[in-house]
Amino acid sequence: MPGRIKPKLAVWKFASCDGCQLSLLDCEDELLAVAGAVEIANFPEASRAVVKGPYDVSLVEGSITTAHDAERIHHVRRVSNFLITIGACATAGGIQALRNFKDVRDFTSMVYATPQYIETLNKSTPIVDHVRVDYELHGCPINKHQLVEVLSALLNGRRPNIPSHSVCTECKRHGTVCVMVAHGTPCLGPVTHAGCGALCPSYNRGCYGCYGPMESPNTAALAKGWVQLGAKEPDLLRAFRSYNSYAEAFRRESEDHEEQNH
């Protein structure tokens, strides 16, 4: 629309692998169209140019793991009208939240020769633990088509069409043979948030939960199913304690299996 001011988009990074923001650059077919519809105002991975805030939409990748970042996220919130967290780090603390179950000082001294140079918090926490979040997009990594859907819904003033059912439902819709029933392969599909397109079962492996818990997961029932297939307690502990280990439902289930280990 000529004369209309384009909404300003900012991309922010906290502790992460860069993969979720890379999803935007991986939209090879849509990237120039997105750049035509919004002003990419602050996206350091892609541009030197920084347009001053406030920003209409902020995409936040990564978890909070340092005192400095715990401050910085408040600045991001203040300059953002609509804040979307993208990926397992931002929505659940990410793989680095595995430290939350241990003493981080032990971790520091395992990796770094001079631990006093390293400044880090005891826990890796999701953005929502620190500031108000307007929308969460799950996945490790997020699905780039879902990212485009959320952005275009926002630009057109409608609700994003992002299903909240399980990977299991996605499999049924695709007609993928159930790896658990047919092959006896343990699968987290029944308790995992949809969005990946039920990828792992279509490659003959069980879902490993990289999209985090679905809305109302019955993790305890699934754990029993796994035991029937021969899974042991340490297997269950590891299964629930991976890329979304600090998401409430997975955290609680993993703790149940931890106690039985002792």
Partner: protein
């Protein structure tokens, strides 16, 4: 005597969070720090207690740009520990997957992160306004790389189809045939890319590098070979830690890797190319020569040409692998754990990536060590800046700063890998 500081708090167009600090005293450079403040994520610590089969999925999460490199190094290290070698078509498919990652990662850097520097644009979106055809070509070429990763890995970022021993599922012949059609276009586009970047203007800058890379008896290196340098180093991967050590410095959350008793060394495209030029097919050597490269490239700004040549090679190699492909009997060979230590080094797009694991007889990981390319290049980046800035001290602040940033971007540093981004300061006191 006038003191001055060049300081870039957040270096743009690199992967991760880092910065740059250059302190000038009169006409000399007093201090250079390539600062990495990406928050540490402690992969090597939380890998302990995980199952050896989880390593490719977990380590992929170190980097969203080169997850395949982490999957390849971790799989090979685990197979090394368990005494298994993956050969034949499965080995070829791994090479094909790696070609995909080289293409998508190199093309991302060439078109979106590096080319804007040479042509004076802040980013590729602005570049696209004046050079739409070039940027469109870059995006489509990158997409072809991603198509390979997608087909063999299941998705571009953090592929799900890679396992210790091979894959979960083999690609369908029909899908490979379709991919080959796209790769034929990509090969032409990669050739055009080489010719396009050859026309850029390169600063006169050729440090006397110590290059380190894998070298294989017959192939341009991806997944195996010996570790060699241009000054006589020639060791098996198992001896890596006897010669290379990691140091911890105050201004970085990434450990610096050093070659004992040697000056800083450089890994990545220019090192790999210079140590393996004779392993490129003759036709590609010819293309490289026409683009102004010799058999050795010491100008880091020309790394954009080398990346383009490697992209062309990856397209041709992918086509060759698909043409000779016959489905193996099984998507993976069986790997049984045993109490052992295994290591591997593969060539990530940004250079050599070393992994070592100690596991017990149940396959539980007892110890992990990961040395990414960018932690190896940190000292070389700082050394380049020291040498690059001095003859250019007279330049206006903004121009000098941009050129310093560009000198860092020559390495395509992946700070997410080395922990993670970049921040530049020029201090003139």
């Amino acid at each position: 005597m006038k003191n001055k500081t060049i300081k870039v708090d957040f270096l743009a167009r690199v992967e991760g969070e880092g910065g740059l600090y250059v302190k000038l005293k009169g006409k000399t450079v007093a201090d250079v720090q390539f600062r990495i403040f990406e928050p540490p994520r402690f992969f090597e610590a939380f890998m302990r207690g995980r199952d050896f089969r989880e390593a490719p999925d977990i380590t992929a999460r170190i980097c969203g740009i080169c997850p395949v490199a982490y999957q390849m190094s971790s799989c090979h290290a685990m197979e090394n520990a368990c005494g298994v070698k993956v050969e034949g078509q499965l080995r070829s498919l791994r090479r094909l997957l790696y070609c995909g990652e080289w293409i998508e990662s190199h093309v991302l850097h060439v078109y979106m992160l590096h080319a804007p520097d040479f042509l004076g644009y802040e980013d590729a979106i602005q570049l696209a306004k004046d050079h739409p055809d070039a940027v469109q070509r870059g995006l489509k070429l990158k997409k072809t790389g991603n198509e390979i990763v997608n087909l063999l890995g299941g998705r571009e970022i953090h592929p799900i189809n890679v396992r210790v021993g091979g894959f979960y599922k083999l690609p369908a012949q029909r899908d490979l045939a379709e991919l080959a059609e796209h790769l034929k276009w990509a090969r032409d586009a990669a050739l055009e890319t080489v010719r396009w970047v050859a026309t850029l203007k390169f600063p006169d800058f050729e440090p006397d590098y110590l290059f380190v890379s894998l070298r294989h008896p017959d192939e341009y290196p991806f997944n195996e070979g010996r570790i060699v340098s241009n000054r006589g180093l020639d060791i098996g991967v198992q001896d890596y830690e006897k010669r290379f050590e990691e140091q911890h410095v105050e201004h970085s959350t990434s450990l610096h890797s050093v070659l004992a008793g040697s000056p800083p060394y450089c890994v990545g495209p220019i090192a790999r190319y210079s140590l393996n030029f004779d392993r490129l097919p003759e036709s590609i050597q010819q293309v490289a020569r026409e683009a102004g490269l010799g058999p050795v490239c010491k100008n880091p700004f020309r790394s954009i040409v080398v990346r383009s040549v490697e992209t062309l090679y990856a397209c041709e190699e992918a086509l060759r692998i698909i043409a000779q492909y016959e489905p193996p009997e099984s998507p993976a060979v069986k790997v049984e754990p045993r109490a052992a230590t295994g290591c591997a080094c593969t060539e990530a797009p940004r250079g050599s990536l070393y992994h070592r694991y100690r596991i017990d007889d149940q396959g539980t990981i007892l110890e992990a060590k990961i040395v990414p390319p960018t932690s190896q290049n940190q000292n070389s980046i700082e050394q380049d800046l020291r040498q690059f800035v001095e003859p250019r001290i007279h330049l206006p602040e903004a121009e000098l700063q941009w050129q310093c940033e560009q000198a860092v971007r020559n390495y395509d540093p992946c700070i997410s890998c080395s922990t993670h981004f970049l921040k530049l300061t020029i201090d003139r006191g």
